[in-house]
């Protein structure tokens, strides 16, 4: 009679016994990322911070959101969007990192003509 063919914990104690260690690990990781943020790691500080964030997210996804269950469909759904996030980041950065200097953000070319007066009233 269990929902998804997985043995649900019988009582409240069993549930807490399963979940509390996860919570403790999450808080430990939080302490670690806070401490490491002040360590002089240079450019690796971002890598460390994001690595710990990924670890925390995985803990939440696998143990709180029940993705540990052997359900390939749910796993595929959960991680499919990450592929498209990768598409967005890779192709956007393919432009941003290789752009010619005149079109790079922050480059404001000198104006070739005088400022024109704004036309009309902005109405929203």
């Amino acid at each position: 009679m269990t929902g998804l063919g997985e043995a649900a914990p019988a009582g409240a104690m069993a549930i807490w016994r399963r979940l509390l260690p996860v919570w403790a690990a999450l808080l430990a990781l939080l302490g670690a990322t806070l401490a490491l943020a002040y360590a002089p790691l240079g450019r690796f500080s971002l890598v460390v911070a994001l690595g710990i964030a990924v670890a925390k997210a995985l803990l939440v996804v696998l143990l709180f959101m029940q993705l540990r269950k052997p359900d390939p469909l749910l796993r595929l759904t959960a991680f499919a969007s990450l592929l498209f996030v990768a598409f967005m980041l890779i192709l956007t950065f393919a432009d941003v990192l290789t752009r010619a200097a005149p079109t790079q953000a922050g480059t404001v070319l000198p104006r070739s003509g005088p400022d024109l007066p704004a036309m009309g009233r902005r109405a929203f």
Binding site: S81, A94, D95, V96, T98, R99, A105, F124
Partner: protein, 560 residues
């Protein structure tokens, strides 16, 4: 047509189970329904209204462009007209049309389900759509927007005079409706298939709607966030894309087109599904290369996310990105070509019948091929630099979206009209309308290729007199096209009152939706169907196409 014929019982229609149209009556039974078939009709009503509104803007533009001078519209009014045309046609007509009308109606029927997975969410989705549409109409009444449907910054955030916030809000809200419908469709396809309906027994229309839904789920939220960024920058003046304060307007184009290029596939993938059904039925052939059709749909849905930069070849994007996007754009043409070749191969040695839906389908294949091939011109950087922002681009995307998606919508509506309403429309008029749509469309948009290549820029309401002959051709074609759009509305309405009653399967088509009554009962199937074979069983798989001694064609549908 004698009265006796109308009243005669249809032998192959199952008797029990009352039709969804008459099971309940009254306005509340429609506005509070959770029946996917009724919600499809609600969408049809709403989307038809938006089609008229967007069409009215197009009519205003075509009248204005009849002469080289400004006659009807000022420059500002012209900007507002084409923006309204774009916003309404993209988000309130093309994107929802086939998925929300035909998809909503047919998806559960085709997979043998009683309803969509979340019926109340389906109704909620319609109400969200109506709220968004109302806001879009408010935008028009309040004075319109002048940014173009793309909301390019810094024009939209710092300079535009129109009601950008209201328009962006309308599109933002419509996104919720899109996502809700898509989640519903995906869950339905995964979990509500009838016994025996394996993945590779799904009709191609279901595959197309499924792939479209995935694209909707993954792309629409990006648009929502982009519009939110625009909204924040315009309303609260916080710097996000402002080049004077460290922002990057090209980044906006990246994020916008990350949505808006896949949105093209949201518009055209469902048409692929419709056309596959029509071609198979009216050629009496199994779809050639069914599994390749499926892989092509999924391939388009995936690679469609990788090509957005071809809208930005002249934006100042880096040359490396230009080359990558150009290459990927050629890659995405391959599965589209596979589909066109497979439709053609399906026709080969088929028993082709030129009924109205088939005429729409053949028109689609021709127009889509032209639209797709000119897409290859635009994917190659040297040509694109030459024709960027000309009527060549306008013609190209209208060939895909109007020649393609709208032809498929009309063909699909004609094909499934007996199933939806239980009535047969007059075939002669329908064929006339279908032929007229093809010619009207070609007269309207083919001249645009020519004048675009000659250098006529888009979004101008005045132009040099050399282009007038092409504009007059286009405007005259638009009159024919408008008539071709209105005619089906006329004979469809006529059929509701005077049309002959349709049997369960008037076209002798395969597919679960034809095995239940026309119109279907509330619970879709009186006895839950069980699937035992692959789709499109128009002839035995190993016996080749049907022999030439096929029964004579009956254009008004099978009469006992």
């Amino acid at each position: 047509m004698s009265e006796a014929l109308v009243q005669r019982d249809i032998p192959d229609a199952p008797a029990p189970g009352e039709s969804y149209l008459t099971a309940e009556t009254g306005l509340a039974s429609w506005l509070l329904t959770t029946d996917h078939k009724r919600i499809a009709l609600l969408y049809m009503a709403a989307i038809t209204i938006f089609f008229f509104l967007g069409g009215a803007a197009a009519v205003a533009m075509r009248i204005e462009l009849f002469t080289p001078q400004a006659d009807l519209l000022s420059d500002d009014a012209y900007n507002r007209a084409f923006t309204f045309h774009g916003v309404v046609m993209v988000w309130f007509f093309l994107l929802p049309s086939i998925p929300n009308i035909l998809g909503n109606f047919l998806l559960p029927l085709m997979i043998g389900a009683k309803d969509l997975a979340f019926p109340r969410l389906n109704l909620l989705s319609w109400y969200i759509f109506i709220i968004a549409g109302t806001l879009a109409i408010y935008t028009l009444l309040a004075g319109g927007v002048d940014t173009g449907w793309t909301f390019y910054t810094p024009l939209s955030t710092a300079f535009a005079n129109g009601h950008v916030l209201a328009a962006a809000g309308a599109v933002f809200i419509a996104g919720f409706s899109t996502i809700a419908t898509a989640v519903n469709f995906i869950t339905t396809v995964h979990l509500l298939r009838a016994p025996g309906m394996r993945w590779f027994r799904l009709p191609l229309f279901v595959w197309a709607i499924y792939a479209t839904s995935i694209v909707m789920v993954l792309a629409t939220p990006v648009l929502a966030m982009v519009l939110l960024l625009i909204f924040a920058e315009r309303a609260f003046d916080i710097p996000i894309f402002d080049p004077l304060r460290g922002g990057d307007p090209i980044l906006f184009q990246h994020l916008f087109w990350f949505y808006s290029h896949p949105a093209v596939y949201i518009m055209v993938l469902p048409s692929f599904g419709v056309i596959s059904e029509l071609v198979a039925c009216y050629a009496r052939r199994r779809v050639f290369g069914y599994s390749f059709m499926v892989y092509a749909i999924l391939w388009i849905a995936l690679v469609g996310f990788l090509v957005w930069g071809h809208h930005m070849f002249v934006s100042g994007q880096s040359m490396l990105a230009n080359l990558a996007f150009s290459f990927l754009s050629f890659v995405v043409a391959v599965p589209s070509a596979i589909k066109v070749f497979n439709w053609t191969a399906t026709l080969y040695r088929g028993q082709i019948v030129f009924d109205a839906p088939m005429i729409y389908a053949l028109g689609f294949i021709g127009l889509f091929t032209i639209g797709g091939l000119t897409g290859l011109f635009l994917a190659s950087i040297p040509v694109d630099v030459h024709v960027t922002d000309t009527y060549f681009v306008v013609a190209h995307f209208h060939y895909i979206m109007v020649g393609g998606a709208v032809s498929a919508l009309y063909g699909g509506l004609a094909f499934w009209w007996p199933k939806i309403t239980g009535r047969l429309y007059p075939e002669g008029w329908a064929r006339f309308g279908a032929v007229m749509m093809f010619f009207g469309f070609s007269f309207t948009f083919f001249p645009m290729f020519v004048m675009g290549f000659l250098g006529m820029p888009r979004r101008y309401h005045v132009y040099v007199p050399e282009f007038q002959v092409w504009h007059v051709l286009a405007s005259a074609g638009a009159v024919v096209l408008a008539a071709a759009y209105l005619l089906p509305m006329g004979y469809f309405a006529w059929s509701l009152v005077w049309g002959r009653r349709a049997p369960a399967n008037p076209w002798e088509a395969t597919g679960l939706e034809w095995q239940t009554a026309s119109p279907p009962p509330v619970e879709n199937f009186v006895t839950p169907p069980v699937v035992t074979q692959a789709p499109y069983g128009y002839h035995p798989e190993d016996a080749g196409p049907p022999a030439l001694d096929r029964a004579a064609h009956r254009p008004q549908g099978h009469q006992p």
